[in-house]
Amino acid sequence: MKPAPFAYVRPASLEDAIAALDEHGEDSRILAGGQSLMATLNMRLSAPEILVDIGRVPDLAGIEETDAGLRIGAMTRHAEVEASDLVASRAPLIASAMPHIAHPAVRNCGTFGGSIALADPAAELPACAVALGARMTIAGKGGTRTVDADAFFRGLYETALEPGEVLTAVEVPGIGAGWKSGFMELARRHGDYAMIGLAAHVEVQDGRFGQGRLVFFGVGERPVCAVRSAALLDGESWSDALGDRIADALKEELDPSEDLNADAPMRRHLAGVLARRVLAPLAA
């Protein structure tokens, strides 16, 4: 056993979970799928006094259509999202991101909400949430509130979640007519964290781009929306020259971090590679 000792509770309701978090405050951590938390516990990077396992809280898992779009419960396992026909038809961007998340055994356990709440800067789902304009449903002692994805991701592993609050669901708005999405990431080996990735959600009418969002991950402390580069798309059809202009603009706009896998100039270059590969087929 490598983790430091901790106590463990498995509340049977959301109210009990919130009460447990409220009682133990900063000493408590939520255990969802555990696929990131358990590793940090094993390495003693994290040593909470009590884990609040929300794995059996009713109604936190599941995918359903709503008036506004799609509601994905926070405890829905990645494998279920990956296999969902509803997600494939209503949120194809998310469907295309799922196979890139770690490996099958991890996707069987890891949860949609866990990935969003952790806010790893190299993770796929936060970028998808920002690209699609998703809204986070958050429950706490004072009731529930919703936060837009843009405001939810604040920085490195930092979100709008306050101590004692639980992310309960992610609402993905319906896709507007003519909007298309594309997803791609570059990793040294399948399932590894991406060196860089792109979640794109853009309007395309008669082969011409309109509004759109290009959200990169693995390039900063949170998902990075390349607003100025995306603006170059407006009114244009795809051409190699447009690809070059966007690649150049991304080099100016992005300020990527460096690590052993890729330095900043390489990530700037790869941003343009991804933009070309993702955008060209969308306009076809």
Binding site: A7, Y8, Q35, C109
Partner: protein, 160 residues
């Protein structure tokens, strides 16, 4: 605060009940409490796949799940799958194709391949590779493992 927890689960078809430390992960529980040492402990942070076991019909990382989370679950390990004969053909193909050398990754690799043939029996070599991408093997270079999966499938009358 009490750092122990009482759990009851089914392992390889047999009921097991223990009071354990809450921090004990599933693979340590299987090895140390139940003596089932076929599931191996490698990296202990979810990267290598040596600890892969089946929980409620799906493979998981035994090092990334607390034993407490498996309370009430139906768990199968390499020992159980060997006894039932479910993966005998895969095991024989592994031996014939030299799909193992030191054998450390083999139990996890077999559990993973057993799930692959449930979910995608006609998987291409590329898809097999992707499915086992979370299971490290430092001996074989993976080619022989992919070969063994295909050989077992061919013998069952599936695509080569």
């Amino acid at each position: 605060m009490d750092s122990t927890v009482e759990i009851g689960l089914r392992v390889n078809g047999e009921r097991a009940t223990r009071r354990i430390e809450a921090r004990m992960n599933l693979v340590d529980f299987l090895r140390e409490e139940l003596g089932l040492t076929g599931s191996h402990v490698g990296c202990e942070h979810g990267v290598c796949g040596a600890c892969t076991v089946r929980v409620d019909g799906r493979i998981v990382r035994g090092c990334l799940m607390l034993a407490a989370q498996a309370d009430g679950a139906d768990v199968w390990t390499i020992e159980g799958l060997s006894d039932t004969g479910e993966i005998r053909d895969l095991q024989e193909a592994f031996v014939e194709r030299n799909a193992l050398q030191c054998g450390y990754c083999t139990p996890g690799m077999l559990l993973t391949l057993a799930e692959l043939r449930e979910r995608n029996p006609a998987a291409s070599r590329q898809e097999i590779r992707e499915f086992i991408s979370g299971n490290y093997c430092r001996c074989t270079g993976y080619e022989a493992i992919v070969d063994a999966f295909e050989m077992a499938r061919q013998r069952q009358g599936g695509p080569s």
